[in-house]
Symmetry: C2
Amino acid sequence: MKSLLPIFVVAFLVGTIAIPISRPPVSAAPKASVETLKQLEDEFMKAAAEKGSKGYLSYYADDAVEIPNGGPVIAGKVNIAPGMGFLDDPNNRLTWTPLGGDISGDLGYTYGTFEFRSKDKDGKPHVDYGKYASIWKLQKDGSWKVVLDMGNAAPAPKS
Amino acid sequence: MKSLLPIFVVAFLVGTIAIPISRPPVSAAPKASVETLKQLEDEFMKAAAEKGSKGYLSYYADDAVEIPNGGPVIAGKVNIAPGMGFLDDPNNRLTWTPLGGDISGDLGYTYGTFEFRSKDKDGKPHVDYGKYASIWKLQKDGSWKVVLDMGNAAPAPKS
């Protein structure tokens, strides 16, 4: 690989000289904002819808903590995973809407409402309404991952 | 006040020169850590026990968000306050134990378990077990305040 280094250097220099306007320097790269987290929440939700629990958990840090309503605190993605199997049932669909959040340093959070659509024992559609807060942390690889997720119950929206 | 400025400057210089070891420069002041937040949680709990809802809410930022189990999201300390009146009833006692947390930049969080001791309609002692997550934010005055608090139900501990 060492022998390729000069080529990369030349390519980098040519790149930065040739397109200085369309390619801003790294130091001017946009910092993560609450909008970054809301966009991530959107991708996160799509991953859960398309790939079930595996997609959902790909947004969790390995040392994430889950705080489910009615159950004990669950520490570690490997221990959270078994409880997320319900996302693999095509009758179930979890969607959520962030209402707000904040970000500073390597930490951020979002909170909002969720809807969990499933079928009851008679096969009739059923909706559970809830609220959530997710805490996000910047990982060593530059990605933001959920380090804490908590949910509780919400009243059904007034129709 | 302007005329006093040179005196302050001399006093500052004498102070920093005379006791360089016992008084570290501001830049070396200890940064807030998770331990800072856990210590704050302890003071927070004492304030609630001694001063009820007023003590409890003194640890909330004006723009705090409460996410209570079973109810809607409540935004703003002024809107959260009426729901905290139960802390003014001497029969009620809310205690909590942080299990973990993190801090970065101007944001931090703690999570853990809580116990809410009250009396039922027959006057018998009753305990509700729950879990919580609190998000803390550094305020302009240098204090850390709760900007989001969320609770849900926990199973009773195994005896």
